[in-house]
């Protein structure tokens, strides 16, 4: 069992430290319990824009100096925004672990927000949106399938936001957003690496301990899983050279006991060269050149997704029928022992490889605390996966993969 230590500061900041002395480095992950799901109509993209602002300076760390401070010691640094959380992570040589924590504490307590940096980052985010959505094959379709899949705006709109909303965002909203969400009691700080947990906890208490709690924000309620109507839409995409197909089914949320069954189904269908959909669609029938997807687990409404790029001239409706057959097969035929063994070994191997990277470890630890309030969640993951029985897969597939509860988007190049 790993020697993980945890602590909660009086101001509510939850901390977990996992020593790992394989290499003299440390990975740090600071997760805020806020994402695009808190955005209201007209305010899309704000959580992501705010993530950019977090790198623009604080009382004692100038604009750009956060990145310079980390990279000046050879570290990696970035942030990522999702529907339900925003994560800031970095790595450093372990003897410099306090530097990263000092800079994180500085921006949590005294972020500098100016018109100049706000406008500059608005322009950067618009450029990012241009690159990832407007100029990307299937970029617009990816936004559309999200809108089709979730009944509730909170989950349906894209994390990066709509152009007009980003253009309308204001600096005043940024200050309010910071006060509401970027507070110690709404955050988890996870550290993995070659450090002494006691020394790390002392430093965290010293740097973060006197930051005030937040105002207990009113969170939008987590809506019920959507009951999708069977909808099929078609879209032309001038950026695409090949047709594509998106299909989403509503899935159980994170925290449901069937979470692990979904993890096994995802691996069975999508992971590895012998996975069912890759084998059938890409190798044997050659109807697709790429197939990906899986379980998008949220605390709120969640999805089980397929995204396939078809061979030239391919018919998305025909591929959808193949997918339907494979889902039906899940509901009909219990998994053979050798196929289950392959799934187990793929997941076991993936877990071992994931542990190579300290940032990956810190992010996993942070998610374990944020979503499960359990520092051992990651450690017990495989154990729970091994408990999934073939009849669990049949049961879940029968219950959840209802053809009358799915949305499909067919994309055609023009």
């Amino acid at each position: 069992m790993l020697d993980i230590q945890e602590s909660t500061l009086p101001n509510g900041l939850r901390v977990a430290v996992q020593p790992d002395d394989r290499i003299p480095l440390v990975g740090v992950s600071l997760l805020f319990d806020v994402g695009s799901r808190v955005e209201l109509e007209g305010g899309s993209g704000f959580a992501h824009l705010f993530e950019h602002l977090m790198f623009q300076g604080s009382a004692h760390v100038g604009k750009g100096e956060f990145i310079q401070g980390i990279q000046g010691w050879g570290g990696t640094v970035n942030g990522m925004t999702g529907k339900e959380r925003t994560t800031y992570y970095h790595s450093l040589p372990s003897h410099q672990f306090a530097l990263g924590l000092w800079m994180e504490a500085d921006r949590m307590r005294s972020l500098t927000l100016t018109e100049e940096t706000f406008e500059n980052q608005r322009a950067t985010v618009l450029a990012e949106r241009l690159e990832r959505v407007d100029n990307s094959p299937y970029g617009q379709a990816n936004v559309r399938i999200g809108e089709m899949s979730y009944a509730d705006y909170a989950y349906a709109h894209p994390v990066i936001g709509y152009r007009e909303d980003i253009e309308a965002a204001t600096l005043a909203s940024a200050e309010a957003f910071r006060r509401t969400w970027y507070t110690p009691d709404n955050a988890v700080l996870a550290i993995a690496g070659d450090v002494d947990p006691e020394a790390v906890l002392d430093v965290i208490h010293a740097y973060f301990g006197d930051i005030d709690r937040g105002p207990s924000p009113v969170r939008p309620p987590v809506p019920d899983p959507p009951r999708m109507l069977p909808v099929v839409e078609r879209m032309d995409d001038p950026k695409a050279t090949l047709p594509a197909l998106f299909i989403n089914h509503p899935a159980i949320p994170r925290g449901n006991p069937d979470f692990y069954v979904y993890e096994v189904i995802e691996a069975l269908m999508f992971r590895g060269p012998s996975s069912r959909l890759y084998r059938r669609m890409v190798v044997d029938e050659r109807s697709a050149i790429k197939v990906q997807g899986g379980y998008e687990a949220n605390r709120g409404p969640s999805l089980f997704s397929l995204f396939a790029v078809l061979a030239q001239g391919g018919d998305p409706s025909a591929l959808a029928a193949v997918y339907r057959e494979e889902l039906d097969r899940l509901a009909r035929e219990p998994l053979a022992p050798d196929e289950l063994e392959r799934v187990h070994n793929r997941l076991r191997s993936a877990r071992a490889f994931g542990r190579q990277d300290l940032i990956h470890q810190a992010n996993s630890l942070g998610r374990s605390v944020l979503y499960h309030s359990d520092i051992r969640w990651e450690e017990t993951y495989l154990e729970r996966i091994l408990r999934v029985e073939p009849q669990d897969i049949v049961r879940v597939a029968r219950r959840d993969f209802d053809p009358n509860s799915m949305v499909a988007l067919e994309v055609r190049p023009v």
């Binding site: 990279q71 040589p93 372990s94 500059n120």
Partner: protein, 460 residues
């Protein structure tokens, strides 16, 4: 409680860290076998490396290398496509690698309990791939589709034109696919190409992971010494000659919402004495998010989501490239900004603090690069391919530390000069308008080209 400190903490002393020692043996057939222990996690990677690649493609079969790479994943002479896939997944193994212009790699990674099975599978794929006709036919269609996709996107357009501009007719200037090359490739062509590449006399079997290096090397030597080297000598890649001319190429892509700008400069080979100095200079220029290109063009001017440069060294030459994407109407200002930063570098307008920062980044990031199996394997692949000193990685941090301000200034002056730059822009017509407004005063003519012109003799 003590008040929050206004100054950053001063770290303690760095913990000692050394690159792990390696066991090596050169076999009679020319093959090198090597192993290194990266322990504490029960995983390992087996990697076949060949100092050969797509440069063996016939001129009328450009794209056959990509086709070979993809078809090699479909089984071996002993295992069918389905059997091979099941064997990998049964043991949780994952396969990687590819056929690049002058290097080819087959790697299989997994839990160390399946290590010897991984050795067998990787060896079968590397030396005796199946290349079944049905797999070749399927992959041929996919390569054609990948080709069409790449040739419709501004980023690969820029990459291909930059290579052409920098290297002309040399293999480094050859695109990864041409419209008819893969389509015309037969199974026999692939067998021929594979034979030229999988030459043990130019090969290495490398093992990285939780293994006993000496024992592994001894066993590998026993198992691999039977491999026959080719009876006839196979030519290596020819040296690159000639210098690119300064030019600005524009390729119109009416469908694009964004323009892509690329800048290319000739650089040194990996074993050149100025390599590390130029690496530090590149780090200052655009090597990371704290470099000049990113901080100026993104963080100060908001012109792009990201702007980076990269120093890439092949077996017989190298280049520095920088790329960024931007809105079409920002193309002119973005190119002017890029050239302005390049000019400052070429003039030696550097600050000691920047050099120190860049060196600390390279020194500090090295253990991270060497933290995972693939990172260590890549470093050892590089030192073998480029014939670096035996202690190249053990002494890497010390060598970077030893690069002086003057050395970086000299390298920047020599290798980062606007007058040596090949510039390529791809985008919609609005990008050309923006470009014309920005660069005409500089007098550099804009060559408007199409992708169909890429391989025409006059576009060299």
């Amino acid at each position: 409680m003590t008040p929050f400190p206004s100054k950053p903490p001063v770290g303690g002393s760095p913990k000692p860290w050394n690159f792990p020692p390696m066991a090596v043996q050169d076999l009679g057939n020319g093959l090198r076998v090597a192993a290194i222990r990266v322990g504490s996690l029960p995983i390992a990677q087996v990697r076949w490396v060949f100092g050969s690649g797509r440069f063996h493609e016939r001129p009328d079969r450009i794209g056959s290398g990509m086709l070979l790479q993809r078809t090699m994943r479909h089984g071996t002479q002993e295992l069918s496509s389905a059997g091979f896939a099941q064997a990998l997944d049964r043991m949780g193994l994952r396969m990687g690698g590819g056929v690049a212009i002058d290097t080819s790699i087959v790697s299989i990674s997994g839990l160390v309990e399946h290590f010897w099975s991984a050795v067998d599978l990787a060896t079968q794929v590397a030396l005796a791939p199946g290349l079944e006709p049905i797999a070749v036919a399927g992959e041929r269609i996919k390569v054609g589709q990948i080709h069409r996709h790449a040739w419709s996107r501004v980023e690969p357009m820029v990459t291909m034109w930059l290579a052409r501009g920098l290297y002309g007719d040399h293999p480094y200037g050859t695109p990864i696919t041409l419209a008819d090359g893969a389509a015309a490739t037969t199974r026999e062509d692939l067998l021929e190409l594979h034979k030229s590449i999988a030459n043990p006399a130019r090969g290495m079997m490398l093992v990285v992971g939780d293994v006993d290096p000496e024992r592994v090397v001894a066993r590998l030597a026993d198992r691999l010494s039977w491999i026959e080297p080719p009876s006839e000598a196979i030519a290596g890649i020819k040296l690159q000659t000639g210098t690119p001319r300064r030019r600005l190429v524009f390729i119109e892509n009416a469908q694009a919402e964004q323009a892509c700008i690329g800048l290319g400069l000739p650089a040194v080979a990996r074993n050149h004495p100025e390599y590390l100095s130029l690496k530090v200079a590149n780090q200052v220029f655009g090597g990371s998010a704290s470099s000049r290109l990113f901080t100026e063009l993104r963080d100060r001017q908001g012109l792009t989501y990201g702007a980076y440069s990269n120093l890439d060294c092949g077996l017989v030459g190298g280049d520095t490239t920088a790329t960024l994407s931007c809105a079409p109407d920002k193309t002119g200002p973005a190119l002017v900004g890029l050239l302005s930063e390049l000019k400052a570098m070429g003039q030696g307008d550097l600050k000691p603090g920047e050099i120190d920062h860049a060196k600390r980044f390279l020194v500090g990031s090295f253990p991270q690069a060497a933290a995972g199996l693939t990172g260590v394997a890549s470093l050892l692949t590089s030192s073998w391919l480029h014939d670096l000193e035996d202690d190249a990685w053990e002494s890497y941090q010390e060598r970077v530390d030893g690069v002086s301000f003057e050395m970086v200034q000299r390298a920047a002056h020599q290798w980062l000069r606007p007058e040596s730059a090949t510039l390529v822009v791809a985008g919609p017509s609005g990008a050309l308008d923006s470009l014309r407004a920005a660069v005409q005063p500089d007098g550099l003519p804009i060559e408007v080209q199409t992708m169909d012109d890429l391989m025409a003799p006059e576009t060299r």
